[in-house]
Amino acid sequence: MQAIGVAEQTLLQAVDSALEIRRPASGFVVRPADPPKPVLLPPWFLDRCRQIYLSVTFDDVTRIIGVTSALPEEGKTSVAIGVASAIASDTREPTLLLETAFEKPALARSLGIGPEGGLAEWLESGAQLRLARMPYLPQLVVMPSGAAHRDPARLLYRMSESNVLGQLTQRFRNIVLDLPSVLNVPYSSLAARLAERLVVVARHGVTNLDDLESVVFLLGRERVSGIVMNAADYRTPAWLRRLL
């Protein structure tokens, strides 16, 4: 626990460092050491993600939304980025996008940043935590899970036992968790407990309804705030769909 306590200090230092507005010296421009690749999400995509977070009601002042899915490759990382971007853009409040899929990280790759210095390394050894600020959205901070870990369940257990999220909520009013997929990751239910509200991503024409039913059952219907139909590709003409 002591180790975690020390790590929490480094965590908050890293967060404060990430949130600090650095004034460039005259004649110089501040250039982050490892800036994330700009993510150009189309406006309509952000609008749909805005729909997601606006549809979720929260009991507390702090919003902690978990984004998960039945199986991998259903688009939960894209939706998590979109939701976090929409919240940060709309509220102008410090927003954190936190990845907890330790066994198969995708966020760092999606944002084009290196895998080292992620949440996994910090939880494992208290290594220096690297946070990334999204270009054009300085209030959005990304915390990738780092390199793939051999024992992700242990890391997540440590995370859930410590007060990491509690500390983070002191700095971030909005936290979006990119959770592991439910059916193929054994510790997914543990990860899901970190979130206050859950959103399940289902890929149109890919996600099996029985799998989706299992996910809703495993997570608990009362905790699932909604399902997101991702990559919808309807072939029925819109006017006909409206009639049906």
């Binding site: 993510v39 996600t207 049906l244």
Partner: protein
């Protein structure tokens, strides 16, 4: 429903072929391969008022054409008609198999067109067969009708003749008994008009009178029946007269619509196969596609539907 429509549009090329193009092609091919012709003949039925008597079975409340149609339709439904028609078609269609097919598909129709006009029609795949069929059908019907009427009349007249013979025998016996009584009683006067005849004489005289009346009655009935039979037979022999000789009324691809029916069956069969395939695909698809279905099944809202990102828009 939404699910199956989505399946249709997802595989629209496949289902356009299966549900529209293939049935249309099958229907068109069927029409081209199985042309259909229809021949008809129109017959005139004379009014019976010229003869003062009606053929047996005719209703006074129906028109001659209706009465005649009723009789002919009943005859047409008999096996005897089919056998006679087959026999009569041997010249036109010597091949028994071909003849059997033509007769089975003929679809004879007979009905009144007015008070005195009747139309007989039949369908087949060649014009000559059609005309021959209608001609043969009319001939067979008329022959059977005349024969039936003759048979009926003969049976009735034969019965009455037997009755007449019997009555005449009884009359002769009664007269002989009376004559014998007069010979045996020379003093007795028998006067048919007198009321003072003896008891026995009166009885014998009464027997003779009754026997004569019965003979007269049977003779009257026989005469009337012979007249009616004659009239009926004459009526059937004289008519119905063929006004329009058998001719092709509609021919080619459409005919009487039978080829269209076949085309509809072929098109319907292919459509059914395509539709079954669509239902099967829809039934086998257990993936999340319909937001209403998800909400109904899991009782969880679908908070957003995000369209597919194209490759340029995709992250990473």
């Amino acid at each position: 429903m939404r699910k199956y429509i989505e399946v249709f549009f997802r595989f629209w090329v496949r289902f356009t072929i299966l549900l529209l193009v293939a049935p249309a092609a099958a229907g068109a091919t069927t029409v081209l391969m199985f042309p259909n012709y229809k021949a008809y003949s129109r017959l005139w039925v004379d009014s019976t008022s010229y003869f003062g008597a009606s053929p047996t079975g005719w209703s006074q409340y129906l028109t001659p054409a209706q009465n005649e149609s009723d009789s002919l339709n009943q005859l047409m439904s008999t096996r005897a008609f089919a056998i006679d028609l087959d026999a009569r078609m041997k010249t036109a269609l010597p091949d028994p198999a071909e003849r059997g097919r033509a007769l089975a598909a003929a679809g004879f129709q007979l009905g009144p067109l007015g008070t005195h006009l009747i139309q007989v029609s039949a369908s087949c795949d060649t014009p000559s067969t059609c005309v021959a069929l209608v001609q043969a059908g009319v001939d067979v019907l008329r022959d059977e009708q005349v024969q039936l009427e003759k048979d009926n009349a003969k049976a009735g007249i034969d019965f009455l003749n037997v009755q007449l013979t019997d009555a005449r025998t009884q009359q002769q016996a009664a007269e002989d008994a009376l004559q014998k009584y007069i010979v045996d009683h020379p003093g007795v006067k028998v006067d048919p008009a007198a009321a003072s005849n003896g008891v026995e004489a009166s009885r014998l005289l009464n027997d003779v009178t009754q026997a004569r009346q019965r003979v007269t009655s049977i003779q009257d009935q026989l005469s009337r029946d012979q007249y009616i039979a004659s009239v009926s037979t004459t009526l059937y022999q004289a008519g119905p007269r063929v006004l329009d000789a058998p001719a092709i009324t509609r021919g080619g691809l459409i005919g009487d619509g039978a080829s269209l029916k076949k085309a509809a069956v072929a098109a319907g069969a292919i459509f059914a196969v395509g539709f079954a395939y669509l239902v099967l695909l829809g039934w086998l698809d257990k993936t999340a596609r319909d937001t209403r279905e998800i909400e109904h099944r899991f009782n969880v809202r679908v908070v957003a539907t995000i369209p597919r990102l194209n490759s340029v828009e995709r992250i990473g």
